[in-house]
Structure formats: structure tokens, C-alpha cells
Symmetry: C2
């Protein structure tokens, strides 16, 4: 069973490691958000792509969620000592990934080729594909400022109130090579429990992606909202800004035009009827991925229902 999964950061990565364990080599592909990509110190940072790759490689710092386990922070601390910005706290090994990416981009390689090289170097057998080779920038609009996503997320600690979310660059961006076919040709497409607005949102906003999902007979989405709150991250603030109710069924509504099966947490069982009323099946299970075994259990539920 070939699965193509759309993912953002940690929430996506946790389901992906479960799917990677459950499926034979070569049958899983992750299409990952690049809307949070940023240039910091001149270096091309791809936070979601790297988080996913590190988790699949088994080297992620699981407690912290981002970065590489055991990484050192000599560079960022030296930058701080020079009076430079250090709010984007990149570890030394993590920075090496970004510097290598920057150098390869400079020599003309595409982001998707480089991402494939990096995951291969790190021994990851699951294909990791950035959603697009062209830059798409997620902007967080607040009352009086427009932030780059990382500025709002990391530097401002998600404090400025969000009035809108915009994706800059969509007019010139297309899905990375192979992305549309990976959706159409998959037996199952999985939307990971990633942030619906800023992780899954940019992928869905690319030309033809939503159309391909509508045509697909087996699209399974996993709710990132449990008991009216995100498992991790600022999805509540971003959903609220887009006028979406911060509930499992609120998220289901965002996907209703293409989603066939909505996987929601057992703590939200009361919402299952509402979700089914939107024209999709609801699967009610324990969705909390507190450890790799839980990731595997959820992955098996997703595969089973599909």
C-alpha cells in the first residue's frame, strides 16, 4: 500500500515515524511544508523539512521537538556574544544542514534534489519531498505588523494577535516535481496532524493540489486538535484568526471538500456525528503520540481504516 503523507513539523513527524515502521521501504513519501522556510544569517533554513528528516532518521531531539539530539550551540552562542540576533536558536549540526543546503542551492541544485540528498546521507529510507522548489513565505499579519512566520513563531513567541495569515509567492510557485503524481498514484493520502493553517495550508494552496485530493478516493486526515486545543503549537491562534472553530470538527470542515476519512481523538467522540454530517467517515481512536509505540498504533489505525 503506497502512502503519500502531507506534513508540517513535529505532529507530522510523529505520525510519519509510525508509518515508516509500519510500511515496507519505498512505500511511504512525505510531502512537507516549506512556508516556514526563512533566510537567517544568509542561510536557508527549512524547519519543517529538517524536523521531518531528523525524526525519520532517528536523530531528532524528541523532548524539545526540533533540532538534533545532543546538538551543541557554540555558533549561536558566539553570535550572541558578538551582539548578534540569536533568537533563532539553531544547533551546530542543524546549522550544518542549512549551510550545506545553502551552498547546494547556490550551485543551482533544487530544494527537492537537495532534500533528497540530505535524507539519503542521513540514512532515511522514506522519501521526503518539499512541497515546492519555489519559495512560498507564510506571513503572519497582526494589527500593526506583518511578520515572517519564524519571527512571529520563535522571536515573538506567538504573542502578537493574529488577524490574518498570508502565503507570499504562491503566484510563482508550483508543486515540486512529482508531488501531484505522488498524490494521484498513492493508494492512500494521509494528512498528518499538523497545523491546518500554516503547515497543511500552504501545501493545499499550491496549484492543483486541492483538485488532486478531491479526485482521490482515499484521503485520510488526522485531527491535530484534541479537546478543543492543539496537541502542540499555536494552531488555536491561527484557526481562530481564520474564523475556524478550534475543534476537531472545525478542522474537519477545512478538509471537507476532499477528505474521505477523518481520524479524531476518542476524547472528541461527541463530535463524530457532526464530522460525518460533512460527508466523510469518522474514525475515533487515541490520537496522542506520546511515544514511538503510540505513533505506530495510530499509523496502524490509519492504514487499517484506509
Amino acid at each position: 500500500m503506497k502512502i503519500t503523507a502531507l506534513a508540517g513539523g513535529v505532529g507530522g513527524a510523529k505520525l510519519l515515524i509510525g508509518l515508516q515502521s509500519a510500511l515496507p521501504s519505498e512505500d511511504l513519501t512525505a510531502i512537507v511544508n516549506t512556508g516556514d522556510d526563512s533566510v537567517i544569517y544568509g542561510v536557508h533554513v527549512s524547519p519543517d523539512v529538517d524536523i521531518v528528516t531528523y525524526w525519520l532518521a532517528g536523530i531528532a531531539d524528541r523532548a524539545r521537538g526540533w533540532g538534533i539530539a545532543g546538538d551543541t550551540f557554540d555558533v549561536v552562542e558566539s553570535i550572541a556574544a558578538l551582539g548578534g540576533d540569536s533568537w533563532f536558536r539553531l544547533g551546530d549540526r542543524d546549522l550544518a544542514t542549512c549551510l550545506h543546503r545553502t551552498e547546494r542551492l547556490r550551485t543551482g541544485a533544487s530544494l527537492s534534489v537537495i532534500t533528497d540528498e540530505i535524507r539519503t546521507s542521513l540514512g532515511v529510507r522514506t522519501r521526503v519531498v518539499p512541497m515546492s522548489d519555489e519559495p512560498v513565505h507564510t506571513r503572519i499579519v497582526s494589527e500593526d505588523t506583518v511578520y515572517e512566520f519564524q519571527e512571529w513563531f520563535v522571536r515573538e513567541r506567538q504573542q502578537p494577535r493574529v488577524t490574518a495569515v498570508e502565503f507570499e509567492g504562491l503566484d510563482d510557485a508550483k508543486p515540486a516535481p512529482g508531488v501531484l503524481d505522488l498524490i494521484s498514484d498513492a493508494d492512500v493520502v494521509v494528512l498528518c496532524p499538523s497545523n491546518p493553517v500554516v503547515s497543511i495550508g500552504p501545501i493545499l494552496a499550491l496549484p492543483e493540489v486541492r483538485e488532486k485530493l478531491r479526485e482521490h478516493p482515499r484521503v485520510v486526515a488526522v485531527s491535530p486538535i484534541v479537546q478543543g486545543a492543539p496537541v502542540k503549537g499555536p494552531a488555536d491562534k491561527l484557526l481562530a484568526a481564520s474564523g475556524t472553530e478550534v475543534t476537531a470538527s472545525g478542522v474537519a470542515g477545512l478538509y471537507a471538500d476532499f477528505c474521505d476519512i477523518f481520524v479524531m481523538d476518542e476524547r472528541d467522540a461527541a463530535e463524530a456525528e457532526k464530522v460525518e454530517g460533512m460527508g466523510m467517515s469518522a474514525l475515533v481512536v487515541d490520537t496522542l503520540m506520546t511515544d514511538p509505540a503510540a505513533s505506530e498504533r495510530l499509523a496502524h489505525s490509519v492504514i487499517g481504516v484506509a
Copy 2:
């Protein structure tokens, strides 16, 4: 006595620490070559400016000559593990300097402003001024290839035979703010024992620098060549390519139109007459700076003769 010194990398730095010890605060300024500057992994590397700053800050790795003592190499080793280029072996703290510079350049600060910020952060009281805020790129021309200086110097280990040296960007480069006045207003201008072709050469090639030196009554140059060989580095290969004899008097000839006093090593005493025949005074002393005390002794000789 106000001294302005023109310098490249290690040879220059060694004399500068001697001058810094010998002079009161604020009386010494170093104008440093930027022809070796390069962009590596998207990061702006200024090897000579950084070497000089680290030596003056007392944090240089004296044994190795470049970089910061006790620096770690986690990033470059991680890049190598990803299959990336790691021939330019930047330490982690050294890289932090370069990343900070890159970020400040991106926000519109000039190289000279940033250089001043960095030396101040590192507690250096000697002013360090890059020769120009505009990019000048030293190119090493070999039989069939044109190398960036760092490619030839580091990656190719100075093996390809040099047929010519070119400075790209000179048409659009001017001396950094203050450089011409720093030369004119100094009581003494010192040319450090740096590589005459690729360290001092680019500074002299900037508009008006050579004219200002010609007008100046007290220009002291220290020979980087002792007994027919450079104390350190590839000056022999580069001098030979430009048709200059690899001797103290060969170097003196390059500076004859503006140099008033030529400081040469006692091992080359036999050449003093030839140097004086070019219209300058010769000072014959021990020029080898094997430790900081030797740097101070040479600095005192330079100050004394001037």
C-alpha cells in the same frame, strides 16, 4: 605617534600585536586586505580581517595561525558528513563571526561598520578597517583555470602554477571611509610583513592609496621575505608569477616609489646596499616574530627608526 598599518593575515597580525603593545590606545589603526574575502555556504568570510582582529583580541590560534584558539569544528564536520564541501575549515566560533557579518550586511550595514562592531565586541582597542566596503576579489590565474584566492590557497593547497594575479572589482571599489585620511594624517605608515602580492597588493591597487603613500614622508615597509623565502605563506610563488625576485630587495623594488624606510632581516644584510640604491633607507634587524616579545621588539625598531 599615530601609526596606520597596512596588513594582510598572520604576518601583519604579528607585527600589529607588537605595535598595539608599544603604542597608547587610539594611536594605531590597521587597514586590512579584503581581496581574499569569499562567500562560502552563503556566508561572507573575511579571512584577513578576522585573523587580524583575533590576534589583536588575544584569542587567535597562534600555532595554527588562523582561527580562534580552542575553537570546535562541529559544523564543518557535520557538513562533511552530509557530503558537502569542507575544504574551508572554519571553526564554529569563527563561523559565528562570519554569520553575524553576513546578517549585518543583509540589513544594510557596511563592512567597515561591522568590522568595527566586531573588534569592539571582542575588546580590541586598535581600530581595524577593511580596505574597502566594496568587494574586490583576488583571482589566481593558472594555466587553464582561474581560481578564487581561497580555492587556490586552501582547496588546491597552492599547487597549481600561478601565471598571473588579478583583482576583480577594482573599477567599482574605493577605499573604505577614512582610509585615505588615515594614511595622510598618520605620523608613520607601516606596511606590515604581509604578502606583497595578495595582501598588500590589493590595498595599493585601490584608487588614490598609492598616491597618498607617495605624498607621505614617513612610510616604513617590513620585508616578508627572509633569505630568499617567505616567512610563511606562498609569497614566493606569487612574486615569481609577477616577475619579481623572491628577495628582500625584490620586495623593496615593489614599494620603491613610496617607501622611505625598508626594514629587512639581518640575514639579508648583504642586500641593504641594493635597497638603499633604490632611494630608501634600509634598517637591518631581526625581523622574525617567533613570539609576542619578538613582535614587540620589531615594533619598537619600526617606531624607533620612524
